[in-house]
């Protein structure tokens, strides 16, 4: 690392709040070129959206935060917040997360409803190499908006030691749904879903044994409240080990928050959380 970069990094750590985030969004000309000329994106764009128009300046609609510097390329936090009040007439129905250079670039497709209250999501992803990373918001009206960033993260020496596969499988499918604060009716409430799952890609080789752990990952998450869908995700191994989702739901009456998760061996797992009018922070495990 050269001195300039080091000074830059040192400075960004000293900065706080909005300033640091603004700095994180600065994109160099090379990075802009990588984002705009990506052949992988050209293919995915056609595959997902055909010839539909995509507004490339989605920043007015989507706040897209990725770290200035990923501390661990296997667990990179990605936060998407939409700056729009959802109404039954106009709401963000889908958020697509594309990591161009990952083995499976279409990393996640999140779906929302007016019952979500807010089409915000935070999760954690694996990033294989320096890559454009983009979020596309689709409104129920069909409008499309994109925000793109450039992610500097790659494995190298930070790759973790080979994990005890048996210990990981012993906790397979354990889940926890959590709300941090007292739930307030008729406004969006934050919920977290944690899933214990190895979420392996099938592409990581153990250097000592020269063996590949088989691909085995969560492929869908569906969360409902009072029987109505509030949040769902089609995902794959771009999501980090032990998948984690932070999302919103809009309760109009006491009810049950329920998460159903299905993995690539068609195992399904369920977690439930009773939400009362004055529910205390609570948790529940999978059935």
């Amino acid at each position: 690392m050269n001195a300039t970069v080091r000074v830059f990094l040192a400075c960004t750590v000293l900065m706080t709040g909005a300033l640091a985030q603004a700095e994180a969004r600065k994109v160099s000309p090379e990075e802009t070129a990588a984002i705009e000329t990506s052949e992988i994106w050209a293919k995915i764009r056609t595959q997902l959206f055909g010839q539909r128009k995509i507004d490339p300046n989605g920043d007015s609609l989507i706040e897209f935060d990725i770290p200035v510097r990923a501390e661990d390329a296997a667990i990179v936090p990605v936060s998407l917040r939409t700056r729009m009040t959802a109404t039954p007439e106009r709401f963000v129905s889908k958020l697509y997360l594309i990591i161009d250079k990952n083995p499976s670039p279409i990393s996640a497709v999140f779906s929302f409803t007016p019952e979500s209250g807010r089409a915000d999501i935070e999760t954690r992803v694996r990033v294989e190499q320096y890559t454009p990373i983009r979020a596309i918001a689709e409104l129920n009206t069909g409008e499309l908006y994109m925000v793109a960033r450039f992610m500097k993260a790659s494995g190298g020496c930070s790759a973790p030691a080979g994990k005890d596969a048996e210990a990981a499988l012993a906790n397979l499918g354990k889940m926890r749904l959590r709300v941090d604060r007292e739930v307030r009716l008729n406004e969006p409430n934050l919920a977290q879903l944690m899933i214990s799952h190895p979420n392996t890609s099938g592409l990581a080789m153990d250097q000592a044994s020269r063996l590949y752990a088989p691909a085995y990952y969560v492929r869908s998450v569906a969360v409902s409240y009072g029987g109505k869908p509030v949040f769902s995700a089609d995902v794959d191994f771009s999501i980090s080990e032990n998948p984690h989702f932070r999302f919103y739901f809009l309760p109009q009456a006491p009810g049950e928050l329920k998460a159903e998760v299905v993995d690539t061996r068609d195992k399904s797992f369920v977690a439930r959380l009773a939400v009362g009018e004055r529910s205390a922070p609570a948790a529940t495990d999978a059935r």
Partner: protein, 287 residues
């Protein structure tokens, strides 16, 4: 050329450079040392590259003409490992804990690739992966040089297979991964409760000085500053988790001002924060 610093009669250390690996410091950011006995020398840690190992051997030869009988590697970090080839080429056996050797086999091929990219072929020429000549499991006393040396294993503490070396004649303690001085310790491979327990046990040993893995030698009280850091880090991350701060907000909220003057605060500390946050979050799932 590395400059040996005398710590006690017959006990020397080489002080590593501060900061991150870069072409200017040749990645030589870890300490090394050696102990001169009646009939020979025991080297402690081997440097970052084949050339670094050669330079350490040349520096030892300027202090004494007694032969180097053994090289002990204290822990699995690149700046202590990859000079081993220089020692082995002279028929000097290299010894490591079995678990440290296993971790090296599982991970360090990637570290070596990254080092080559960062430092260039010339700086890294002749540097290769290796298997230690001697692997051991438990604490034991060695005496190949007419001066008894204790190799101390505290279980999986700062890392799996991390050991420390005590020169019983002088009371100088080469702490390896267990203690850094004025430098953020790396929690990546650690079992923190066991690490804290090991640090707690050190004051019971007859120590006069500590040669840390990184940073200058100091009094036995160095142990307390590492304990304080680990304890403060865990407490702060527990607070963030409790307050509902998401992983994406950890870097910004990670500050521990008491340690901000330590080397690598802007890099290792941020990674530590994210690692401990994720560990505590995971523990919370099973409470």
């Amino acid at each position: 050329m590395p400059e040996p610093l005398q710590v006690a009669d017959g006990v020397y250390m080489f002080l590593g450079a501060k900061g991150e690996v870069d072409p200017a410091n040749l990645g030589r950011i870890g300490n090394a040392g050696f102990i001169v006995g009646e009939s020979g020398v025991v080297a402690i840690d081997t440097g970052t590259s084949r050339q670094h190992g050669e330079d350490l051997l040349a520096a030892i030869a300027r202090v004494t003409d007694k032969p180097v009988r053994l090289a002990l590697i204290t822990h699995t970090r690149q700046e202590f490992l990859f000079g081993a080839g220089a020692f082995r080429a002279r028929g000097i056996p290299v010894a490591m804990h079995r678990r440290a050797a296993n971790l090296m086999a599982a991970r360090c091929e990637n570290c070596l690739k990254t080092l080559r990219r960062q430092l260039g072929e010339t700086a890294m020429s002749g540097t290769a992966m290796f298997k230690p000549d001697i692997e051991f499991e438990a604490s034991h006393t060695i005496d190949p040089i007419g001066r008894p040396i204790e190799v101390l294993y505290f279980g999986h503490s700062s890392g799996p297979g991390d050991v420390a070396v005590l020169d019983t004649r002088s009371g100088v303690f080469f702490a390896g991964g267990l203690v850094d001085n004025q430098r953020i310790p790396d929690v990546q491979d650690s079992d923190r409760p066991a690490w804290l327990a090991a640090l707690g046990a050190l004051p019971r040993l007859p120590l006069t000085a500590i040669v840390p893995g990184h940073g200058p030698a100091g009094p036995p009280g160095l142990v307390d500053s590492v304990r304080r850091y680990l304890t403060d880090l865990e407490r702060h991350m527990a607070e963030l988790l409790q307050a509902g701060v998401p992983l994406s907000g950890v870097a910004e909220a990670a500050a521990l001002p008491a340690f901000s003057h330590w080397d690598r605060y802007d890099s290792i500390h941020l990674r530590n924060a994210s690692i401990v946050y994720l560990q505590l979050e995971r523990e919370s799932m099973f409470k």
